[in-house]
């Protein structure tokens, strides 16, 4: 029988489902929200989006602190005695129904006057009457319908970030001036000698001059500042020719109108500045779109285990869904994803990812623990103090400690080319200016300005970031989450691929487990399960799911020896689980993976894991072996040797009994032979090897194995798309090279026309931003096209 989906939040309804009004709900919380919405005739909430709600959390007593005047004052934006305005950050806003419900909050409680949602920022600004409803009641109301605001008292102290709107003002003024100047210069285009036209010429010219002053002094300001700063440090950046061009145009035009020798070029000047700024706006919007996608919408496949306070059951949830007050279980070797408070267990946190200090920090129950630390001593429970800031985690990930340096990257090529570019442009401008000076002074001026304006190194500056940025976004959409753009470049250069066995090419689901040995009683099974709970090793996780019963017995003296086994004391028993070697047993002839159980020194039996390889593995390896050298490193025994030899092409290396250090050394050895290595692992026992390789990818099956040393995370379900991802990376580099060639050709043609005196400054002014926009568009469309072709 198919599982029913909760009408409110869309989660699967299991045994404790509630039926109300003929509709299924996964829990009482969702049913209550539905009731509230229904009673207040807000049920069209459900029409806007299917199952749009989120599960509300327990709220009794949680917000009593908001009754305190001082604290409330920190959060409230405005209060004049009768009406208050408060701006909340509501992380659960995710769709149009959310906007609708929150903006109709006044229907749920008359004390709320208005509420306005800012969807991109996930904020809700609520105006309420102090006498009819208190701040605490507003928060409780929002929580009861599933939109709990995230109240962070510390950040409430910081001053509001001023949004930088200067660029908008600059564009507005430049555009305003441009339009008006064009209108004013229109009569002058005809070059007629008409009495009335001549009478008003000075007046019109003066107006044009007046309009261009704010353009040059305000709108174009940034270019001058940047050029000046660069020159101060002896660097010639691309803003130098642009600033020169603007200044030349301005002074020459002013000279012309004040000596009545001509009309000037104010239309070209303002047009140039306007189009340049438009290009900047376009660039800014795209960057912020890309980073918004990355921070808020892209797939970040890190899961965390949440403990349901009612029945102590464990649920694996994605990190986005962590809410304040959630009780989380952090296993051995897992990373703390949010700031929180320690509840139980022995916290021994390794903050080397955050601070670089590898000395672990001890924390007791009640202490505050910060996100980013890795737990190294058994399992702990903590209460989340806030929701996950994905941007913090991605920032952690991009930390300089983990960046891998490459010398021959696209970036260094760009830097070298741009250095020569400006010098060459200035030289050409000077030479052609001098040449024409002796022939026709007017043309000389046209030529110099046209040369300075038309030359655009936009491909250099723009194509690489846009291509990589877009590719990163597309990969993220396809569940291949990369750390940053350098990874794409590194992937395009690899020659060898190394795979870990357990958890990487074998799947953790559908594993066949059988038990041989002395039967364990129910309480003994629970004790074993309690020890297993603390470990994050794929085998421990599988066995934990497989064993029945609870796992809440207290463990003392927990120790996990990576790659070998676990041990811990539960009640009176001292339990050890692990490989035969770990337990000191003789190595039998094995064909499968075993976990042996030892209680109080006596081996009780063993669990036999029948390896299940991922579907399509053979075809995948066949495809990859066409272009790459393959190798498999396994921490297990050689029992799987024959199976693996059948899957891999002949000549590939298959090594067994590899400890984490062995894996690292193997990669290092390959690199010493000038091989570029890409390593795939589960992120746990191969953290060192992943860091050592040129590209280290962790295969995620909803497990919290976020290791900042890895360069990317690939969802296990998309494992078979691996050849496509690698191919796309290579093609991206090709696209960037093509865009360089395109831009170079464009510059050559433009230069030809400019130097031969055939290019008027205004045409140059229009063409320049068009060239940047066309390069960017080409790169974006090309990357979209190749990925659509391969991935869809």
């Amino acid at each position: 029988m198919p599982k029913e989906i909760c009408y409110h939040c869309g989660a699967e309804c299991n045994n404790d489902k509630v039926i109300f009004d003929g509709k299924p709900f996964c829990c009482n919380g969702c049913k209550t929200v539905y009731e509230i919405l229904n009673q207040n005739e807000l049920s069209c909430y459900y029409d806007l989006d299917q199952s749009p709600g989120t599960i509300p959390t327990e709220i009794k007593g949680k917000y009593d602190y908001l009754d305190n005047e001082e604290i409330a004052e920190k959060i409230i934006e405005f209060n004049d005695g009768t009406t208050s305005v408060v701006n909340f950050f509501v992380p659960s806003i995710h769709c149009s129904s959310c906007i609708w419900v929150l903006e109709n909050l006044d229907r749920l409680n008359k004390g709320v006057r208005t509420s306005i949602v800012n969807f991109p920022k996930k904020e809700a600004r609520i105006t309420f009457k102090n006498e009819e409803i208190s701040l605490k009641q507003v928060v409780e109301l929002m929580t009861s319908i599933g939109y709990e605001p995230n109240i962070n008292l510390e950040s409430a102290e910081k001053s509001k970030l001023k949004i930088d709107r200067t660029l908008i003002y600059q564009v507005a003024i430049a555009g305003f001036a441009f339009g008006n100047i064009m209108l004013l210069s229109f009569p002058g285009y005809f070059e007629l000698d008409e009495f009335w036209l001549n009478r008003f010429k000075p007046f019109f010219h003066l107006l044009m001059f007046g309009f261009s002053i704010p353009v040059v002094t305000y709108s174009a300001r940034d270019y001058f500042i940047s050029a000046y700063k660069g020159l101060k440090h002896g660097i010639l950046n691309i803003d130098v020719p642009i600033s020169l061009g603007i200044l030349v145009l301005f002074f020459r035009s002013s000279y012309e109108i004040f000596t009545h020798t001509g009309q000037g070029y104010f239309d070209s000047l303002s047009g140039l500045v306007f189009f340049l700024l438009l290009g900047k706006v376009f660039q800014q919007k795209t960057y912020s779109f890309l980073s918004f996608e990355r921070d808020y919408k892209s797939y970040f496949p890190i899961a965390i285990t949440r403990i349901d306070p009612k029945d102590n059951s464990h649920h694996s949830i994605a990190v986005h869904n962590i809410e304040q007050g959630d009780r989380l279980l952090i296993r051995n070797e897992e990373i703390v994803p949010v700031d929180g408070i320690m509840i139980s267990g022995n916290a021994l946190l390794d903050y080397s990812f955050v601070t670089g200090e590898s000395l672990p920090v001890t924390k007791k129950s009640g202490d505050k623990i910060f996100a980013g630390g890795k737990q190294t001593n058994g399992a702990i429970e903590m209460e989340a103090l806030q929701t996950v800031t994905q941007s913090y985690l991605t920032q952690l990930w991009s930390n300089d400690i983990f960046s891998k340096t490459t010398d021959k990257s696209i970036k260094s090529l760009t830097d070298r080319m741009s250095k020569y570019f400006t010098i060459i442009i200035l030289a050409i401008a000077l030479i052609s200016g001098l040449y024409w000076f002796f022939i026709d002074k007017n043309t000389a001026f046209n030529v110099v300005t046209a040369v300075l304006i038309i030359a655009c190194p936009c491909a250099l500056a723009l194509s690489a970031p846009f291509a990589f940025g877009n590719m990163l976004r597309i990969f993220g959409k396809n569940k291949f989450y990369l750390k940053n753009t350098d990874v794409i470049e590194n992937i395009s250069r690899i020659k060898t691929m190394v795979f870990d066995k357990t958890g990487t090419i074998t799947t953790n689901k559908n594993t066949d487990i059988s038990y041989e040995g002395e039967k364990l009683s129910a309480s003994e099974t629970e004790e074993v399960k309690s020890v297993l709970r603390s470990s994050n090793h794929p085998l421990s996780r599988i066995l934990f799911e497989y064993l029945p019963g609870n796992s809440d017995k207290t463990i003392t003296d927990f120790k996990e020896i990576l790659g070998k086994g676990l041990q811990g004391k539960v009640g009176d028993h001292f339990i050890r689980l692990g490989s035969a070697g770990f337990l000191g047993m003789k190595d039998e002839k094995k064909l499968n993976t075993y976990i042996f159980i030892e209680m109080d020194g006596k081996v009780k039996g063993k669990y036999i894991f029948h390896n299940v390889y991922r579907k399509g593995l053979k075809e995948l390896f066949k495809e990859l072996s066409k272009n790459y050298r393959l190798a498999i490193l396994s921490g297990d025994n050689a029992g799987e040797k024959e199976t693996l030899e059948k899957i891999l092409p002949p000549g590939s290396e298959i090594l067994f009994n590899q400890k984490p250090e062995d894996k690292l050394n193997y990669i290092d050895h390959l690199q010493k032979e000038k091989e570029q290595v890409m390593m795939f692992g589960d992120g746990l026992n191969d953290a060192g090897a992943l860091a050592q390789s040129n590209v280290g990818i962790a295969i995620s099956e909803n497990i919290n194995v976020f290791s900042p040393a890895c360069d990317g995370i690939l969802d296990a379900g998309r494992f078979n798309d691996l050849p496509k991802f690698v191919k796309l990376s290579k093609q991206t580099i090709t696209i960037i090279k093509i865009s360089f060639i395109l831009s170079f050709t464009y510059n050559l043609i433009g230069m030809y026309f400019a130097v031969s005196g055939n290019l008027s400054p205004i045409i140059a002014a229009i063409l320049m931003p068009i060239s940047s926009i066309s390069v960017v568009t080409f790169v974006t469309l090309a990357t979209n096209y190749i990925s659509k072709r391969l991935l869809n």
């Binding site: 149009s96 306005i116 949602v117 969807f119 991109p120 507005a172 007046f203």
Partner: protein
Amino acid sequence: MNIIFLLMSVSLIIALIFIVLFIKSVKNGQYDDLYTPSVRMLFDDEIVKENDKKDEKELINN
């Protein structure tokens, strides 16, 4: 045709008023969020049921 001076000056002043208003509205924060208004616009207004209830009450009383 000297009227041109006056015409130009007046239209200039009007144009300047517009640019000033634009800058003021941007400063006010109107354009910070470009996405939510596009969604908000599409919400339906609820059919006001209050009048029906009031009519019903009157009928019962009379």
